[in-house]
């Protein structure tokens, strides 16, 4: 193996290490689905936050790990800990994996500096898949960073029938591995309400930080790759020792080259990897048989060992869930269930919260202002119609977000999510996306907000971003009210067909947008071969699930909620400032407000699409806040009562026909169609935008918003210009 990352992957100048506080730094390194994040949550609790790795859209959870002192007279110690993206190898194939590789490399560099704070890599080993985990351990060990091993999935390993650690007792397995590897190996069960090995892990980290230990049999290079040759596969097979640590001869010493060169050479990498595989096999062999490296292997055992097949519980379940005929219907049923949960189940809760905030709570605050002599003042307007409405909006989204996070957690913990990626792989391949992308894209037709949250299940940051940019093109149910209103008003005989066509346009926009992005800004995103480890099915752990939901909902409130509230205050300000007539601030009819004045300014831009009237422009501005209120905005601007059922628009329908006919030169129907297309494509609501910003940062969100506005305008103009000529 040469010391480099594949050329296709950008080597970052900085890693998460650079942003960590100057205390003991702990990196959690491990493969996907090994229980790393569960361990991280158990170690940090609420003392965590998510950030993007420097210069990337790769999301990282960083936090403070507070470890209690053994001696009660001493204060607790705090460590900075980061949950790195899961990877099978430090030779990265994606931006996420590169972040992990960079972090390990930078820990190595900072650990080597005398003035720098020490750091420890906690490598998480999956007891049900020791060979694969040990390979990553060998690579991390090869960098020379101090290592502690956390052994997870022991309950599943005990129950497994055909893994290398079948029926192994956790403590025995950990002790055996620790003796062979020469570094602390701590069995952990982060889901356990009791300590679950976390105190032992803390002690081991303290010990290794003070007295670094190396993995037996893996010798790090003393020089970097820059000007030296990559030394590979130097072995000195010795006799098995007592395994108490330190006897490198015991397993043979493998020199590992750092994965940071710029010149890829897969043949060399493969050759070196073979030596690591050899080391892994010798470790596994010692764990399972106790046989030393010089002992004669059984005849025919030239390849990696593998016993007879024992069909597991997961195999039996998969005969149904992955069946060529049943697999896809099952997947669609699961997505349908998620769709229903986030729309129908969460909707009553959303309504109840909205009524509580806008009804009794607003009344109480208004009453209090009256008591203070500030009734009907702009201060009251700011707090009630700005801040309180913003907070209410955030609160109304909490049920749907909680339901989504809990549902995804169940799918992930149970092991089904990996199967979903496998089943839906073919459908998303043309867009270069992981099969799991289908799930958020379908959920987007219910509500864009939880759909965006669902992108976190995707393994690659670029795929998360691409999916997140396509989700706003899925026609959420809030847009349906606009379609129903306009379709009923302009095409009463064919309203159903028009609405169906809008959903068809939405699907085409997702496909077209995806293909366009693949050929432009996302040329690096392509569907490689699907090679996925399927975790065993297991029962989701309620306490762990609850903690995960709480942390994620908290993150939404803290980060996206802030933007939502600020936007609502801004909208209130626009509506509260009078520009015409004799009104005081906060007591302005919409038609005399700055809001309406801005809408009037925008209206001429919409003229080529046939709906360049003030009412439509004002409704679209309101739609930016929430699509649900577009109908109400129309009613407000025409000064008519909002219809309870948009399909029976009544007076509002007549007003709409009149103004759209007026602004389109008598082609009101074409203008209405163009308006619907514009509503579909121009921007998601402010809550979805805030979530996009939380997940992907300002730049992609702002760029996407600009592109969507321009694209929606172009589409609407096209629809109107063609429609008005038919």
């Amino acid at each position: 193996m040469s010391c480099h990352a594949p050329a296709s992957v950008r080597v970052l100048g900085r890693s998460p290490i650079a942003t960590m506080p100057d205390v003991l730094r702990v990196l959690l390194v491990g493969g996907p689905n090994v229980g790393k994040s569960t361990l991280f949550n158990a170690l940090t609790g609420a003392r965590q936050h998510t950030t993007n790795a420097p210069g990337t859209t790769v999301e990282l959870a960083t936090g403070t790990w507070r470890t209690a002192a053994r001696d009660t007279r001493e204060p607790a110690t705090e460590h900075a800990i980061v949950d790195l993206p899961g990877t099978y190898s430090l030779l990265a194939l994606s931006a996420d994996e590169q972040v992990t590789a960079d972090a390990v490399r930078e820990l190595e560099q900072s650990s080597a500096e005398v003035t720098s704070q020490p750091g420890v890599a906690v490598v998480v080993l999956d007891a049900t898949a020791l060979p694969r985990s040990l390979y990553l351990l060998a690579q991390v060990a090869g960098t020379g960073v101090p290592i502690v091993v956390a052994l997870t999935m022991l309950d599943l390993a005990e129950a497994a029938t055909d893994s290398a650690t079948t029926a192994a007792e956790p403590q025995t397995l950990a002790a055996t591995l620790g003796a062979i590897l020469g570094v602390p190996v701590i069995p952990v069960d982060a889901r356990n309400r009791a300590d679950g090995g976390l105190q032992e892990l803390a002690d081991a980290v303290h010990e290794v930080a003070a007295y670094p230990r190396r993995v037996t049999g893996i010798a790090p290079l003393a020089t970097s790759c820059g000007g030296t040759t990559g030394t590979v596969a130097q072995q000195d097979n010795g006799k098995p020792g007592d395994g108490a640590g330190g006897s490198k001869a015991e397993l043979g010493t493998v020199r590992v080259v750092r994965p940071d060169s710029a010149v890829p050479d897969l043949a060399e990498e493969l050759a070196h990897a073979e030596t690591l595989f050899g080391w892994v096999e010798r470790v596994v062999e010692q764990v399972t048989t106790g046989r030393g490296p010089d002992d004669e292997a059984p005849a025919g055992a030239s390849g990696p060992s593998h016993g007879p097949l024992h069909r597991t519980f997961s195999d039996r379940v998969d005969t149904v869930l992955l069946n060529p005929w049943a697999g896809i219907p099952v997947f669609l049923s699961v997505v349908w269930l998620l769709f229903e949960l986030t729309t129908k189940f969460a909707a009553p809760l959303q309504g109840a919260i909205g009524q509580l905030v806008n009804g009794p709570l607003a009344s109480v605050v208004t009453w209090l202002f009256g008591l203070l002599g500030l009734g009907d003042s702009w201060v009251q307007g700011l707090l009630v119609d700005g801040v309180l409405v913003g907070v209410g909006t955030v609160l109304t989204f909490l049920p749907v977000m909680a339901v989504m996070f809990a549902s995804l957690g169940v799918l992930e913990d149970s092991g089904y999510l990996a199967r979903a990626a496998f089943v839906a792989d073919r459908a998303m391949r043309s867009l270069g996306l992981d099969g799991r992308s289908l799930l958020p894209l379908i959920i987007g037709f219910g509500c864009n907000l939880p759909a965006l949250a669902a992108t976190r299940t995707l393994p690659s940051a670029r795929q998360r971003l691409l999916t997140g940019l396509l989700i706003p093109l899925t026609s959420c149910s809030a847009r349906l009210t606009v379609y129903v209103l306009l379709a009923s008003a302009f095409f009463p005989q064919h309203a159903g067909t028009v609405i169906f066509a809008m959903y068809l346009v939405s699907v085409l926009l997702v496909l077209g947008g995806g293909l366009l992005l693949r050929r432009t800004a996302f040329r690096d995103v392509h569907a490689g071969p699907l090679m996925l480890v399927l975790p065993p099915y297991q029962r989701p752990h309620l306490r762990t699930l609850g903690m995960s939901v709480r942390l994620r909902v908290g993150s939404f409130v803290a980060r996206a909620g802030k933007i939502i509230v600020l936007t609502m205050i801004f909208v209130w300000a626009l509506m509260a400032v009078p520009v015409t007539g004799q009104h005081s601030v906060g007591d302005v009819p919409v038609a005399d407000s700055l809001y309406y004045s801005v809408a009037s300014g925008i209206a001429p831009v919409l003229a080529p699409a046939g709906f360049g009237n003030d009412h439509a422009a004002a409704a679209l501005m309101t739609g930016f806040v929430a699509k649900e209120v577009v109908v109400g905005s129309f009613a407000q601007s025409y000064a008519v009562a909002a219809p309870n059922d948009p399909a029976r628009a009544g007076n509002l329908g007549a007003q709409l026909r009149a103004s759209f006919d007026g602004s389109s030169g008598g082609h009101g129907g074409a203008a209405a169609l163009a308006f619907m297309v514009f509503v579909l494509a121009y921007t998601p609501c402010v809550a979805a935008l805030a979530e996009q910003r939380r997940l992907f940062g300002w730049r992609p969100t702002a760029s996407a918003l600009g592109v969507q506005l321009a694209g929606a305008w172009a589409l609407a103009v096209l629809v109107f210009q063609v429609g008005s000529r038919l």
Binding site: S163, L266, P324, L532
Partner: protein
């Protein structure tokens, strides 16, 4: 023969991987290498296969599976 041509449950040995080098390498790192013993445990839609290797289950899409050559292990070795 290739993985999609292999019968369900039969014990196999990997004899060739004709994937692009970077992906073949990753497959190696994940534990599927020349000489690896495997069983096909599940046929999925579009030629996808689930294989069992050393206690783990790997899902491979149809195109990838078709690029992995295997031979049956005729007797208990």
């Amino acid at each position: 023969m290739t993985l999609p041509e292999s019968p369900l449950g039969a014990e196999l040995r990997v004899t060739g991987v004709r994937l692009p080098a970077a992906h073949a390498f990753r497959l190696n790192e994940m534990g599927i290498r020349l000489g690896t013993r495997a069983h096909v445990t599940q046929h999925a839609a579009f030629g996808g296969r689930v294989i069992a290797v050393a206690g783990s289950r790997y899902a491979l899409d149809g195109e990838t599976a078709a690029l992995i050559d295997v031979e049956p292990v005729k007797c208990r070795e």
